[in-house]
């Protein structure tokens, strides 16, 4: 699941110069996180109307990041053609997918990280999508994503009372250590890891 949060309303309004707006929500992650499902879309509609905008219409796509056919979206939502701009309440990938078909598209959310949802708990920053998953060596806790410095060979020594030197979050390396200890796999910690090969994750391929 992609973790995103809503932009501040006044920031959205600052960018949105157009008058007649169509709002698109997303039925997957954004709905789950309560940042782009139907209730939030309706809330946005209300807010924009109050700010003097006209709302051409709204919809919640089943998933904004995978649109099988734009034609179908248009036939179900003809008001899109009449609008001046689309406001998309999904992660950045949803915005990108829709931008391939539509002209003026604004994101209403800020996309933060690749996370998950497990027993009612939102898990942020679980994976950095590095292109070569080695998370088994770390007991399933990814230091690339969860250590503030992405250190692969052990902790930086900056943690104070178990808290990361960056902020209040616990040091990821303590969790890795505890997990490997529990699994009886502390020998994994002795592996000397080479620097990552970032070519595995080329931008703009």
């Amino acid at each position: 699941m992609i973790i995103s949060r809503q932009k501040k309303f006044r920031e959205i309004l600052r960018n949105l110069k157009e008058q007649n707006i169509f709002i698109i929500g997303c039925g997957k992650c954004a709905t789950r996180l309560h940042v782009g499902g139907e209730p939030e879309v309706l809330e946005m509609e209300k807010g924009l109307k109050r700010a003097g905008k006209t709302i051409a219409g709204w919809t919640v796509l089943s998933s904004a990041c995978s649109i099988p056919s734009w034609k179908e979206v248009l036939s179900q939502n003809p008001a899109i053609r009449e609008s001046d701009a689309l406001l998309v309440m999904s992660c950045g990938t949803g915005v990108a997918a829709i931008s391939r078909f539509a002209d003026i598209v604004y994101p209403a959310l800020d996309t933060e990280s690749l996370g998950g949802f497990s027993s009612d708990e939102i898990m942020e920053e679980q994976c950095n999508m590095c292109g070569e998953c080695t998370v088994w060596m770390y007991g399933g806790i990814c230091p690339i994503a969860q250590c503030a410095k992405g250190l692969l060979n052990g902790p930086c020594g900056g943690a104070v009372e178990g808290k990361c030197e960056l902020d209040e979050r616990p040091c990821a390396w303590d969790a890795i250590y505890e997990k490997l200890k529990k699994l009886g796999k502390l020998e994994y910690l002795e592996i000397i890891h080479e620097p990552r090969n970032h070519a595995k994750k080329l931008r703009g391929k």
Binding site: A148, L151, N153, P155, C156, L186, E190, E194, P195
Partner: protein
């Protein structure tokens, strides 16, 4: 005898830390260095310490080198990717700066450029491995260098004897750390435990350099305790600072006392006064090592 030969032959070394200027004028830095000119074996030059932007340590080392100082250049993984790290190391070597102290570096969010991109393309273990490669005449990718480096690389450690910290330290040693500089020591007992632990993993105690911070006040002691990882100032020292008629002198006496106690347990000491080196010589004299 230079710093690296002393380390190699197990002779006691004295080093001290100086920050490059936050600006272009090197006068204060040179003045600070002049206090310790004939007292220390080498001057450590910090690298954007605590993620606060300052002049490049390479340039500061070069300027101090021209004035006859031997330097140890700090090199953090925070600000440079693997290309920049290697360029810096080749440049350092060409300028005769051969002592390098490697560390991950405090996170940028801790310093004065909060929004800076944290690089950490390598960690300290990997950077030590890279330096070994450069010394053998190859770059990170395995290309042959036109001429090899002759770098003496060291690493830092907190005096933690927990398993995880020791595993990481072991990796640093495996990857060629020739000396280990510790965080400031305030308790000789826990220092000796640390030394015993790392002797057990096969590192000669003569290559351990103990960090010393002369305290200035009770307040600064409490601040260090609370905010700097790896520093643990025992209550009796804090009490001494609290009740001292002259806290500055008390801080110097405590530092000198610690140096005397640590002297036979390690291969050297490293003084980190926060600010200047006015009193460094006096502390070393009080401790009877110069």
């Amino acid at each position: 005898m230079g710093f690296s030969e002393k380390i190699r032959s197990g002779k006691f070394v004295i080093t001290a830390e100086i920050s490059p200027p936050k600006g272009t004028d090197t006068e204060m830095m040179l003045k600070d260095a002049s206090f310790i000119k004939d007292v220390v074996d080498a001057v450590n030059i910090t690298d954007n310490q605590r993620a606060v932007m300052r002049m490049s340590p390479l340039v500061a080392c070069c300027i101090l080198g021209q004035e006859g100082y031997e330097t140890i250049m700090h090199l953090t993984c925070r600000d440079r990717n693997r290309l920049a790290l290697q360029s810096e190391l080749l440049g350092a070597c060409a300028l005769g700066i051969n002592n390098i102290l490697v560390m991950s570096g405090d996170h940028p969010a801790k310093g004065d450029h909060e929004g800076a991109k944290p690089v950490y393309d390598m960690d300290s273990v990997q950077l030590l491995g890279l330096i070994q490669k450069l010394n053998r005449g190859y770059d990170f990718s395995g290309n042959r260098l036109e001429s090899r480096t002759d770098l003496c690389a060291g690493a830092v450690a907190n005096m933690e004897t927990n398993e995880l910290a020791l595993i990481k330290l072991k990796k640093k040693i495996k990857m060629g750390a020739r000396f280990i500089q510790t965080q400031a020591v305030f308790d000789a007992g826990s220092f000796s435990m640390f030394v015993a632990e790392i002797s057990d993993i096969g590192f000669r105690r003569s290559r351990i350099i103990a960090g010393i911070i002369p305290l200035k006040s009770e307040k600064s002691a409490r601040f260090l305790n609370k905010n700097i990882a790896g520093i643990k100032i025992p209550e009796d020292i804090i009490h001494k600072m609290q009740t001292a008629r002259n806290p500055k002198v008390a801080g110097m006496e405590i530092a000198a006392g610690l140096i005397e106690e640590l002297r036979d347990m390690c291969g050297g000491i490293h003084i980190m006064p926060i600010g200047n080196h006015e009193n460094t010589k006096a502390i070393l004299e009080m401790a009877g090592i110069i």
